[in-house]
């Protein structure tokens, strides 16, 4: 078992590969099941939402982050703590709108798309759309309604991957909207 010791950094990378490859298998299955990319995008968002509403509890249990005072703090926590914890990357937070209710997360690298190339017939597929759902679901559980979408996607030819997040409103009721 002497091999194990120099594999510790490798094994972290390998675990993310497990996730990446599983995600790839999922998207492939969805593309097979649904005829058009829009449907696949919607499904990915729905599934992401279901994951997000559960992930937030896991996140809050693991990190010792308290309640965020404002949207800016939320953005920092998402980028510096959450993304780092689950995907091992730290996107940068930029492009704040003047009202302070909209910002962009810029991902230099996206672990979900390692080994992935989009074929020509799937040009409107938002491959990483699961992430949008996850963010939306997670924030809804902490009483924030947000709109999340990809503004740029490295898979579709852009230099970076950019996720645009817009704060819509504070949710007053405590009951979730329910799983879709």
């Amino acid at each position: 078992m002497s091999r194990q010791s120099n594999r510790t950094t490798d094994s972290k990378k390998m675990n993310s590969e497990l996730f990446t490859l599983t995600y790839g298998a999922l998207v492939t299955q969805l593309c097979k099941d649904y005829e058009n990319d829009e449907e696949v995008n919607k499904q990915l968002d729905k599934m992401g939402y279901n994951i997000g509403v559960r992930l937030i509890e896991d996140f809050l249990a693991r990190s010792s982050v308290g309640r965020c005072q404002d949207f800016r703090e939320t953005a920092d926590v998402i980028a510096k703590v959450a993304f780092k914890m689950y995907l091992g990357i730290t996107p940068s937070v930029t492009n704040w709108s003047p009202a302070g209710d909209e910002f962009s997360l810029i991902l230099e690298s996206n672990p979900l798309v390692d080994f992935v190339e989009l074929p020509d017939n799937h040009s409107s597929l938002v491959y990483s759309n699961l992430l949008c759902g996850v963010l939306r679901g997670a924030l809804e559980m902490v009483q924030m309604a947000v709109d999340v979408k990809f503004a740029q996607d490295s898979l579709r030819g852009d230099n970076v991957t950019e996720i645009r997040m817009k704060f819509i409103k504070r949710i007053e009721e405590n009951l979730p909207a329910g799983d879709e």
Binding site: M1, R3, Q4, R7, S11, K12, M14, N15, S16, E17, L18, F19, L21, T22, Y23, G24, A25, L26, T28, Q29, D33, Q43, M47, N50, I51, R54, L55, D58, R62, M85, Y86, L87, G88, F115, L130
Partner: protein, 158 residues
């Protein structure tokens, strides 16, 4: 990095999705299990290539199975297989007393009928990994008391 949690969430969502789409298309349980197993196969097939990039050549079948039980299982599930048994004639039984994907489900016999759903992907994972190492097999799983389960690997001589 909390990869494990993320993978578990994704794995559970995949199972939900496969079974929900089955309801609409009126597919039987068997088809769903096959779909999950095939997904696992694809993933295992690719994953094992990455894992064994730098490892030395395997001496024999038993060596391959030991690799699956130790290194592969540790990388994927953060622990080793607890017990490996074989009849030296191509059948191996891998026992995991605390299978990571079942620990959240139950600690006994509750939800036993749902357990196979949570094992299908892993069966495929093992089958895919073995296939890319040149070993053709059939992998099944059985569980009587969660979270312990047994994976049975039957080597197919081509």
């Amino acid at each position: 990095m909390a990869d494990e949690a993320l993978f578990q969430f994704l794995h559970n969502e995949v199972i939900q999705y496969i079974y929900k789409s089955a309801e609409h298309g009126e597919m039987e349980n068997g088809r769903c299990i096959s779909k999950l197993e095939n997904m696992g196969f694809r993933v295992g097939h690719g994953l094992i290539e990455r894992f064994t990039k730098d490892t030395v050549r395997f001496k024999d079948e038993l060596d391959v199975m030991k690799f699956i039980c130790k290194d592969f299982w540790t990388s994927v599930f953060k622990k080793q297989i607890d017990n490996l048994r074989t009849n030296h004639q191509g059948i191996y039984v891998l026992q995991d007393n605390k299978f990571r994907l079942l620990t959240q489900l139950s600690a006994g016999k509750q939800y036993l009928e749902h357990a196979p759903k949570y094992l299908a992907f892993t069966c495929g994972l093992v089958r895919g990994g073995l296939s890319n190492l040149g070993v053709k097999s059939i992998v099944t799983a059985e569980v009587s008391v969660m979270p312990a389960c047994k994976f049975q690997v039957m080597i197919q001589k081509i």
